[in-house]
Symmetry: C2
Subunit: 153 residues, 2 copies
């Protein structure tokens, strides 16, 4: 029936551009790549390094496992990011008195300075991103995301 151009189309076809996993990835990639330019060009940070910086900036002192749990990163990513920031003296490891397997990670003054510099830039980026759509759409997006995070995250 109808005028299909080849055998795989019609009801059997999937519209990739309407497929949710694809759409999420596309958006996340575009947004992330845009934002990553900031901390990459400015400080040569990778995304795991930025997340580590952001997590320690927010919470002050944590173990590597706690960083990974909070920032949704694999422990190897955290480990490598810690090594990198330590090498720049943006982070220090303090042995934990109660558990010798772990170190308590914290930003140095230099690290905290970079963090404080990036925070308003991040806020601005997010605000400008949301400003591109209407208040209604914005509210809908945030509500929908929240719901999916509750159900899936």
């Amino acid at each position: 029936m109808s005028s299909s151009r080849h055998e795989t189309m019609d009801a059997a076809a999937l519209e990739l551009e309407n497929f949710l996993p694809y759409r999420f990835n596309r958006l996340a990639d575009a947004v992330s790549r845009d934002f990553a330019r900031i901390y990459k060009e400015r400080h040569g940070l990778t995304r795991p390094e930025w997340r580590l910086l952001a997590t320690l900036g927010q919470y002050g002192t944590m173990t590597a496992t706690a960083v990974g749990r909070h920032s949704a990163m694999h422990k190897t990513k955290v480990s490598r990011a810690v090594t990198a920031l330590e090498k720049r003296h943006w982070l220090t490891r303090l042995p934990d008195g109660a558990d010798r397997r772990v170190d308590n990670l914290a930003l140095t003054k230099a690290g905290a300075r970079v963090y404080r510099e990036l925070v308003p830039i991040a806020r601005d980026f997010e605000q400008k991103l949301l400003a591109r759509i209407s208040p209604q759409d914005r509210a809908a997006l945030l509500a929908g995301l929240r719901a999916l995070e509750r159900a899936f995250g």
Copy 2:
């Protein structure tokens, strides 16, 4: 003022878990990883290979550049995915009569078979994903995503 625990917090801090680029990445990663398990375990496909398969399944015949444009992939990703699917005889290259730089890519019968097998599984995955949230939240999410795609994609 107030009971801050360390100097980087308070107004200066950024809540990573509420930061939009982070939230998008987290969700996209979780959703994609979940869905990727299907085509990875079933057929050993990578994500670029799945996207190539999905694009050719949907459109029939395209050049590599067109595949990249439609599926938001870098040309090197497309190139490598084409090589991989060609090696499995799931895809053929036909020289273009008008432009000798390009090949017209199309799925073989074997490739189309895999595509037709995966489509209903993909649909099912998406449907089950959306079924986890309420109809209101679902509508909000889709409206919000659409708006952001219009403004940003």
